[in-house]
């Protein structure tokens, strides 16, 4: 096994446009330097798109900021070099650095709203780039800016130029940021999680735009993301990072098809594939936590969590990056690369018993809710059975959170009914519900950092729920139940004495799950419980939910925008758009044709990492309309690729039934819907 440096490899080809050689970055902490990036190497060739993948805290964003020399007061490069076009970036200062920033190297940020100056018009911010980099005069700069807005496919460029950032949507803001970065035709574009803050269908549009940047503009890209699927769709090469180190490098094809590091494999195993569901191929999460930056383990950082860990070898000394396939530039930081059976199928799950689905427990009939000008829910009709998982899918503004709040009694509906085992809930506020009802209908919240009160211990918060819901009164039995619940969510018992700030995001979410199940509820509403969690942690919490549900026979209402997770764990799906249900049915019915056009677009927007699947591209035009001004007729008509002018924008669509459980609300004729091609297809090698 040869240890080849990136340099020797690169010398064999042309000069890379960006090179990181043994780059090490550290932050000044209270008791000395804390390493953030260790011995990082990268060779980015002109016109190439390189993805930097890892979970939160792995150091990927730090590298981008180091390249731009914007590490802030506390961070500094403590070793290695960064070369741009062969010249030392770190040695540049003053005028030279200024002309490179925004000129030769440009950056796109994670949160577009925060990255734009709220007091300047878009136009003013855009024209600065050519004015200061090419000394262009104002009018010419404005014309160039508008042209660029067209090229990033922004309609109505003139109005956008005169607007302030808060007056345009998130997707439009990000296009503006991209346009601003491309205005001076940079040689290198750094993208730091550019789509994380955006809705799924909007994200698909941006991803498509980014993908074409290198072909249209010839720009090299460094694409930073936590989403393997996005990297596969946009990049040529990929570096997987863990705890500040690169653990695997190679072309997208070679890494994704033949991964050679346990962490990479763990990441893949924790992502649901389009064909799998909870019974056939369970998600396998990576046990444990990433090491704290101050206390990394000796030897291989991933060792403590690795199934192939061998004591004495893997923790003896730092593991170098070793080449596996020089022609593809594929390297891995694993000592046991030749010993592990990489292609073995993952061990079959512990015989997942299909939960028996019982009678209808929750019946929603024509539920509607209007706020002053906004129709949040319009005629919702569906039901849920005992032991079933029903997923409610939709993007922002679709009304799913409003529905959850009506269900929980925090707000009341205007019309329609929600029937929970005989009790009418639609207009019953939580303050008027009896203890039994409250106990049987509980909620898991989205934001793990807010879901627990930071001032009380974990145990006391769970105990409060137990006592308040009247499950148990006797103190010692309450205590016991708290510990039992911690066991149920696979947390150590001594967590009961800890405060939330001592727990990680995933652990806090588990406590949230424990809290929801404290009273043996019959229905649990989970409102986007996974969105704020890292990929591998998502897998763990998902499996936990499935496990508990199976054991307790609870009905789970799973609200999400992430179709791949939904596909994995739900039995039935309800797709919402702007307050109305567009399609509902069993999972496999919704995921295969016939599709509602919106469902088709949603499915196509899901990034897939698995090389075995090809995806048909369906892009939507325009933005999600504001809920205060819904279009007449079908709410989706403004963006629908199949729209029939005169019908879809005038009359509400009829509900067509394709089976006992499968319904689609669409004007398209039945034959056309049935003739749709599937979005996902298995690719034979």
């Amino acid at each position: 096994m040869q240890i080849m440096s990136a340099q020797t490899n690169a010398a064999a080809r042309a000069t890379p446009i960006l090179e990181c050689r043994n780059l090490s970055i550290a932050y000044a902490g209270r008791t000395g330097d804390v390493p953030a990036v260790i011995d990082f190497n990268l060779a980015l060739m002109p016109g190439e798109a390189h993805g930097l993948v890892g979970e939160s805290g792995c150091g990927k964003s730090t590298i981008a900021l180091a390249i731009m020399q914007y590490l802030g007061r506390a961070g500094r490069v403590v070793g290695g070099r960064i070369l741009f076009r062969g010249r030392d970036l770190l040695a540049m200062k003053g005028e030279e650095l200024r002309s490179i920033r925004g000129g030769a190297i440009a950056m796109v940020y994670q949160e577009p709203m925060a990255s734009l100056n709220p007091s300047m018009t878009i136009g003013a911010q855009l024209i600065e780039v050519p004015m200061y980099h090419e000394s262009m005069e104002r009018r010419a700069a404005a014309a160039r800016a508008q042209m660029m807005l067209d090229r990033v496919r922004m309609a109505d460029g003139e109005r956008i130029m005169r607007s302030y950032p808060h007056q345009i949507s998130g997707g439009q803001q990000q296009r503006v940021v991209i346009a601003m970065a491309l205005l001076s035709n940079p040689a290198l574009l750094l993208l730091d999680e550019p789509t994380t803050a955006l809705d799924v269908t909007v994200e698909a549009g941006i991803v498509d735009l980014i993908r074409n940047i290198s072909t249209e503009f010839g720009t090299s890209m460094l694409y930073i993301s936590h989403n393997l699927g996005l990297v596969r769709e946009t990049c040529d090469r990929v570096t997987v990072m863990y705890s500040g180190e690169a653990v695997e490098v190679g072309s997208v094809a070679s890494v994704f098809r033949g991964m050679r590091h346990p962490y990479t494999r763990g990441l893949f195993a924790s992502m649901p594939v389009p064909s799998a569901d909870k019974n056939s191929r369970p998600l396998v999460s990576i046990p444990g936590q990433p090491p704290p930056p101050r206390a990394r383990p000796p030897g291989c950082f991933f060792g403590p969590r690795c199934a192939s860990f061998v004591a004495g070898r893997c923790d003896a000394r730092p593991v170098p990056l070793s080449s596996i396939d020089a022609s593809q530039g594929h390297a891995s930081r694993c000592l046991r690369v030749d010993e592990i059976a990489w292609d073995a199928a993952p061990a079959p799950g512990p015989g997942n018993i299909t939960a028996t689905v019982g009678d209808i427990v929750l019946k929603v009939q024509d539920l509607s809710k209007r706020f002053r000008h906004v129709t949040a829910n319009d005629g919702l009709t569906f039901d849920a059975r005992r032991g079933e998982t029903v997923a409610i899918v939709g993007e922002s503004g679709c009304g799913k959170s409003t529905f959850a709040r009506i269900l929980m009694g925090l707000i009341q509906a205007n019309s329609g009914s929600i029937d929970l085992a005989g009790l009418e809930l639609s207009k019953l506020p939580v303050t008027r519900r009896n203890a039994n009802t409250i106990r049987s209908l509980q909620m898991i919240f989205q934001n793990p950092f807010d879901t627990l009160n930071p001032s009380h211990t974990v145990g006391s918060q769970i105990a409060r729920v137990i006592r308040k819901l009247g499950v148990l009164r006797d103190e010692s039995r309450v205590r016991e139940r708290v510990l039992d619940l911690l066991d149920l969510v696979k947390l150590p018992r001594d967590f009961a004495e800890r405060r939330p700030r001592q727990l990680s995001g995933g652990q806090k979410q588990r406590v949230g799950v424990a809290r929801a199940f404290a009273g043996n509820p019959s229905v649990v509403v989970a409102d986007e419980p996974l969105s704020a969690l890292d990929m591998s942690v998502q897998a763990a919490v998902t499996e936990l939910l499935i496990d508990i549900q199976r054991r307790e026979g609870t009905t789970l209402l799973f609200i999400s925008h992430d179709l791949s997770v939904v596909r994995y764990l739900s039995d039935r799906i309800v797709v919402m758009y702007l307050g109305q249900i567009m399609e509902q049915g069993r999972t496999h019915e919704v995921f295969t044709p016939p599709y509602h056009p919106y469902t088709e677009a949603l499915l196509s927007a899901v990034p897939i990492a698995d090389q075995r699947y090809a995806k048909r591209k369906v892009l939507l035009t325009g933005e999600i309309p504001s809920a205060a001004n819904p279009p007449a007729g079908c709410p989706f008509s403004t963006r629908c690729p199949y729209r029939i002018v005169g019908t879809c924008d005038r009359r509400p669509p009829p509900v067509q039934e394709f089976s006992a459980s499968h319904r689609i609300a669409c004007h398209l004729p039945r034959e056309e819907l049935l003739a749709m091609q599937p979005v996902f297809e298995e690719v034979t090698q």
Binding site: S115, N117, P118, Y132
Partner: protein, 314 residues
């Protein structure tokens, strides 16, 4: 934006109405009535007054009519500019008000003239380079000046500049020349500058740490432009609104400063009237003070809406 302004103005009018009613009720209360009697008839005179005579006196003064009627009459006279007579100084209240407001106005004018450029510059400089030696010095001086109450500042300045060095007179003889305004002005300035510097620095620090400044810097803009065009525009929103509110603060500060230096301004007039029991003066002065305070709040809110595009254009 227009909507917001209208709502705010209506709110302010409502507040003014409530306040004027409150004020009238307070000054109409028994304690104050007694005070008025004492002031006019002398303490001894009141003590020897029998209950009937007291009521007769009240009748004569028109103080026995129903509340709302008197309130209405009072409001009417005020709006016409007639606010009564000062018992102590035996001149019309409006004349007294005009004199004292002019004097305080001169002080206020110079305070604003000097305070605004100095504080904004120092605050911006400190915020731009948070943690630098310049910032440390500016911050420490600002904390010191805002920690020393104006009563103490007045003392220290008097001791050093007047008694020690003899540069300015200790009391404001209200004579010709302007040197007697020096100490009151300096006392006011020290505190106000310190306060505004701290607020401006805090706003500037926050803006400099924001993501849009990062965008501007990484766009390759010259540093000067980043500061002048990108940062200041956002950082100065709050300090500008605070400057309008300073009018309100000044009214409080002049009470103690003018009394200490015997400066014939609004604050001293208010204080003397309260001490003496010169009720009409006190009432009128309070009303004016509230007007200025409410007006300054309104201006401040308007400035905020005007300067902040997020609120101005929804």
């Amino acid at each position: 934006m227009g909507n917001l302004i209208v709502r705010r103005v209506t709110q302010m009018l409502l507040i003014m109405l409530t306040v004027s009613l409150l004020l009238f009720a307070i000054f109409d209360s028994d304690q104050f009535r007694e005070k008025a009697a004492v002031a006019e008839l002398g303490g001894f005179g009141v003590a020897t007054l029998s209950a009937d005579d007291y009521h007769e006196w009240l009748e004569k003064k028109g103080l026995n009519e129903p509340f709302l009627a008197r309130y209405g009459r009072w409001l009417e006279s005020v709006l016409h500019g007639d606010m009564g007579q000062s018992i102590e100084k035996d001149i019309a209240v409006s004349v007294l008000l005009k004199e004292s407001l002019t004097n305080t106005g001169i002080l206020a004018f110079f305070v604003f003239l000097i305070m605004i450029p100095v504080s904004l510059t120092l605050g911006v400089l400190a915020g731009m380079n948070t943690g630098s030696p310049l910032d440390r010095v500016i911050s420490i001086v600002a904390v010191l000046t805002t920690s020393i109450p104006q009563i103490a500042t007045a003392v220290l300045l008097t001791v050093i500049l007047a008694l020690g060095l003899g540069w300015v007179p200790t009391k404001s003889a209200m004579a010709d020349g302007w040197s007697f305004r020096g100490l009151p002005l300096l006392t006011l300035l020290l505190y106000d500058i310190g306060y505004l510097v701290r607020m401006t620095r805090a706003a500037m620090t926050e803006v400099m740490a924001s993501q849009y400044i990062r965008t501007a810097v990484l766009k390759g803009l010259p540093y000067r432009r980043v500061i002048l065009r990108h940062a200041l525009r956002n950082a100065l929103i709050v300090p500008v609104t605070l400057i309008f509110l300073e009018l309100n603060g000044l009214l409080s500060q002049v009470v103690v400063v003018e009394v200490f230096f015997q400066y014939a301004g609004f604050g001293r007039m208010l204080f003397d009237a309260a001490n003496f029991g010169d009720l009409q003066v006190l009432q009128a002065a309070t009303l004016v003070a509230v007007c200025v305070a409410v007006g300054s709040q309104l201006l401040s809110d308007a400035a905020y809406v005007f300067l902040n595009p997020r609120v101005r254009f929804t």
